[in-house]
Amino acid sequence: MKKIIWSLLIVCLLAACASGVKLSDVPVEDKSGAQVNNSQGKDADKASKSPNSSSSSAGASSSSNAANNSNVGTATASNLPEAKQPTAPASGNAPASGNAPASVNAPAPVNAPAAADAGIAGPANAAKVIYFDYDSYIVKPEFQAVIEGHAQFLKSSQRARVSIEGHTDERGSREYNLALGQKRADAVRQSLTLLGVSAAQIESVSFGEEKPAVAGSDEAAYAKNRRAEFFYK
């Protein structure tokens, strides 16, 4: 029985992978919610559905043994949409009940695969990080040269796509910080478009306080974390 469950799991994961491969041909940058539902959503469904298929849907049935069924189906987020290689379930996480899915994380290296075929690395000689003052989203003059380096590069490589990722320090509300980080990213995006870069090449997003560059709760750490980063896809 256990074997069947695992093989089912693996089959479904492969199915999920396969669809992931196809979906990677779909432009991902910017689309309506409906379109995205059809891609990533479905992908995740498949990956998470498989483990539950063995439990005959804990939520709906009322006939079998409740105690052996976990009521919360676990999904696993892969690192990036491009991450195409889910590993086998980690044995350490194998649940006693046999139906809950183990972790199928594929902690793929962040800058990994897809960049190899489609992505364009950024300018070789320009810094990738811009720092901001406390509670500020003004791009300081000292970073103007960095912005110009990226602008030149983006104008000369029209195929290049860059994500400007805004970040904040850890103080305050996570959601408000997400919006503050967005302001920083938007400010950098604006500087680029002012220099003639096409808006279609840029997406500005925010990580808020979630991805600090350095750990620590002092001003030195905060100053390193209030930043915007260029990420070429």
Binding site: G41, K49, S70, A96, P101, Y176, L178
Partner: protein
Amino acid sequence: MSRSANFLFTLVFFIFAGSNLAHAEFKVEISGVGITQIPIAVSDFRGQETSPQKISAIITADLKRSGQFKSSPTGVLLDENSHPDFNTIKQNNIDAVLTGSITKLADGRFDIRYRLWDAVKSQDLGGQSFIAMPGDLRLVSHRIADQIYEKLTGDKGIFSTRITYVTKQNNRHMLWVADADGENAQAALTSPEPIISPCWAPNGNELAYVSFESRKPVVYVHDVGSGKRRVLANFKGSNSAPAWAPDGKSLAIALSRDGGTQIFILDAKGGEPRHITQSPSIDTEPVFSPDGSTIYFVSDRGGSPQIYRVPVSGGAAQRVTFSGTYNVSPALSPDGRWLSFVSREANGYRVQLMDLSTDKLTSLTESSQDEKPSFAPNSKLIMYATKASSREVLMTITLDGKIGTRLAGQSANIREPHWGPFLKP
């Protein structure tokens, strides 16, 4: 109990049914002293020493956490058929007595029975029996606590409701669903990238949250029963701060797709979002009023982040908070009476409570890094995240700020709590 009710319970048990893995146990620590608490004597349930769960201990912890009870043991073992010795009990200033038993049945299930007594009037307040699988014994205990709470306070109990939260350990982010006491936690999502802002749909079956797994904030809706999830919002830029409308048909959400972070309403099935705010400032952290007519949100349009409200049907935003320079993360009590939020004070970030009928403000905590208040569905408790000894923990606190309990035990950092709704039995 009628047969149909019995069936309903079986069904409910099934929906709640949880594995008994003790991988995320919490402990309740009472850190305050209340004033008017109902003194209740709780007997050990006959047979519980050989059952998988100590029924009376779970009920006692629930009642204590509410802040409205103080409990003591009965001294003698009393089951649902016992007649308590009220003369002795009254001498100890006890108002109510809980008795009960748990018996293992031949098929492996358990028969749990209880009876509640009014010690002042020496009156039987009734009881109930439940048949449950071993994995449902905590839920049965919470249901008994709910019934006792309702009988003795007149308000609905929240002990059988569920909460969600996020843990972070090393680079592993996990979204959890747990019982309201923090026990019986089960992972809904594991990710190498951050997860924030989970919130329950009014149906109690779905969560909306923000996941960074695709290197940007994207909002997902996740069915916790099946584990199926779908992307709700993945527009250009950042997608964040989901909040369900009370009817569950739409969500308020913060999007930066047109530049700047603004509030939109999006159908729960997806589709084209509709602008609620249009300002050059930051507008985020929307929440619906319980009647669905108004959205409260945070905006820095006045120069510092403050809480505003705006009619869903359109119209001008009105400022709600005026004291201090940093008021964020609004939460509305389901009864519509209270607004809770986090305010930056001289000593740090603290949970505030505003009486919406008088605008009177109370600072509820003495901690310095509070985040994300969330009301219990009966509007009597607030859960929030804070830091204690440099670890992220979850706390509950009564609305008078007098009884705080810590939901501890997770070795990871715990954050982003949201309290689920009442579930229809």
